[in-house]
Symmetry: C2
Subunit: 317 residues, 2 copies
């Protein structure tokens, strides 16, 4: 990743769609993912490998992965909560697994009925499976409630750092930090990423920050300031964590891309094309509220000169 570039990891098709009540039809998912890819997004979390009885929104995940794998240059990521999910995801051919692990013991028990220690052991089993059958697949642990928990309140920094070390020890390629409950603030974001980086170095992964109390972009800026270069977000701010009561609101991809591009930080995403994906998302989820200020305000008058060229234009000779 060049010093003035970031990877925007779009999590809407997973995090967003599993958080809403409606089930988006498969064809609508594929149309939306196509539009996200056409806008220049190059990493998309396309679904969760979980039992359809638990999350009917994700029943078609293998079909969605199969389609996404046809899109050139796209890293196809899926969430897997356990070894069984990882087996299915690897069989489907994903490029990257994301495993949620709670920093809060209370949240871990409520969310997956496992202690953190049991989750680390499960992660090690997933890594062993990956090593044996798909060594090219990237494994990321996403540490939820890293900045606070609606169940237990504060989450000690030392717990986060120790869990990050344990996950790296279990063999993951990177550990991201998630503000599941929207409790993070910029000072904390800088401190926590610095502490985790001091412990696990280049295996420090994505910032997954929420806009629950309006601080989403400020927290992304804080993470950028201390060297984070991968940011999770969802189009229209769709999603959040359904297991953390009162928590809602991923960072809005449109506003995040606007911020970085305006700062001169390359995202590879064309904002006009990204906004064109918004009605495609909405068509698949009629009536669902979408968030984001940039789509309402439009792009500023002086935008064209500094906008990233559309990816299809970049490939012209």
């Amino acid at each position: 990743m060049p010093p003035h570039a970031v990877l925007i990891s779009e999590v809407g098709p997973r995090d967003g769609l599993q958080s809403v009540k409606a089930v988006m039809p498969t064809a609508a998912k594929l149309a939306w993912i196509n539009a996200l890819h056409a806008a220049g997004l190059r990493e998309i979390e396309v679904g969760s490998f979980v039992p359809a009885s638990l999350l009917p929104q994700m029943a078609d995940v293998a079909d969605v992965v199969r389609h996404a794998l046809t899109l050139p240059g796209l890293t196809v990521m899926a969430l897997v909560p356990n070894l069984r999910g990882a087996e299915a995801a690897l069989a489907a051919g994903v490029h990257k697994l994301s495993i949620p692990v709670s920093a809060s013991e209370a949240h871990s028990l409520a969310n997956v009925r496992k202690t953190r220690q049991h989750m680390v052991a499960e992660v090690a089993r997933i890594v062993a499976l990956r090593n044996a059958h798909a060594p090219h697949v990237h494994v990321e642990a996403g540490m939820s409630t890293a900045f606070g928990c609606t169940l237990q309140g504060d989450v000690p920094v030392d717990d986060v750092v120790a869990l990050a070390a344990a996950l790296v020890n279990a063999g993951v390629d990177e550990v991201g930090l998630s503000d599941t409950s929207g409790m993070a603030n910029p000072t904390q974001v800088r401190h926590l990423f610095n502490r985790v980086r001091a412990e696990i170095g280049h295996r420090t992964g994505a910032a997954h920050l929420h806009n629950t109390r309006g601080l989403g972009l400020a927290n992304c800026l804080a993470a950028w300031d201390v060297g984070v270069r991968t940011f999770d977000s969802s189009q229209g701010g769709l999603g959040g964590c359904p297991y953390a009561p009162g928590a809602s609101g991923n960072v809005v991809t449109e506003d995040l891309v606007f911020m970085f591009e305006a700062m001169g930080v390359h995202t590879g995403v064309n904002l006009q094309a990204l906004m064109a994906a918004r009605p495609i998302l909405q068509a698949g989820l009629p009536g669902e509220p979408l968030y984001g200020m940039t789509p309402l305000a439009g792009l500023p008058i002086n935008w064209l000169g500094r906008a990233t060229p559309h990816p299809t234009e970049q490939t012209q000779p």
Copy 2:
């Protein structure tokens, strides 16, 4: 201002109320200002001294000032666009004058039908009046369109720096920078405040940033990072600049206070009391949309331990 404290300057009663079509009744204004003061806000821009024929929302400004002057510890600020407004504001007894001056020549001509040079001359006349009749009154110039203009596009940094120097030369106590059109980004905010501070030093004033494209708090964080300690915002995000087409949305006071307090930066504002002021504002402007995420999400479970004591509690022995 201690190193870990900021002054939140509430501009809603001026910037907010002059931007909406409805005219808030005087009694409702006083009730809202009382509630803002009770929440701990210690600088409030209570109105504009402009002809009632132009802004009927501000026809009662002298009465509002008279009441605000009775609130202990409050700096009562008013906007004045010209010498005549300044005469009326000083007669009413305000503590602080705010004079808008556009960095963009196109915006200056459209907004007040004066060139920037003519506005600097007008500012000098206002300062002379202040010096002669009310030397204790503070004079601030608020430089609008400092980060870009919907009429002319980019505004050169050198124009902003030169105008800041000219305003200090004209005798103002401080020069704030306003993102009238919501075009600012964090890199630009840091650069521009650094450049202006290099030119006019401690006379560098408030950051007046908008949330037009969702970057309001990120831009405030960027300004804080480079030493800005006064921030304009409005409760519920009310207001913006009616003269800049498409522009809207002040930074939301509730979210701004939440960000700083969560960072451990003292605002003096009690968030629970601030949220209690919100229905009082709404009662004075029925049906007017209010913004802000913190009021919707509520305060996090771990908040109480870190919240600033309520101002009335601070005065207990």
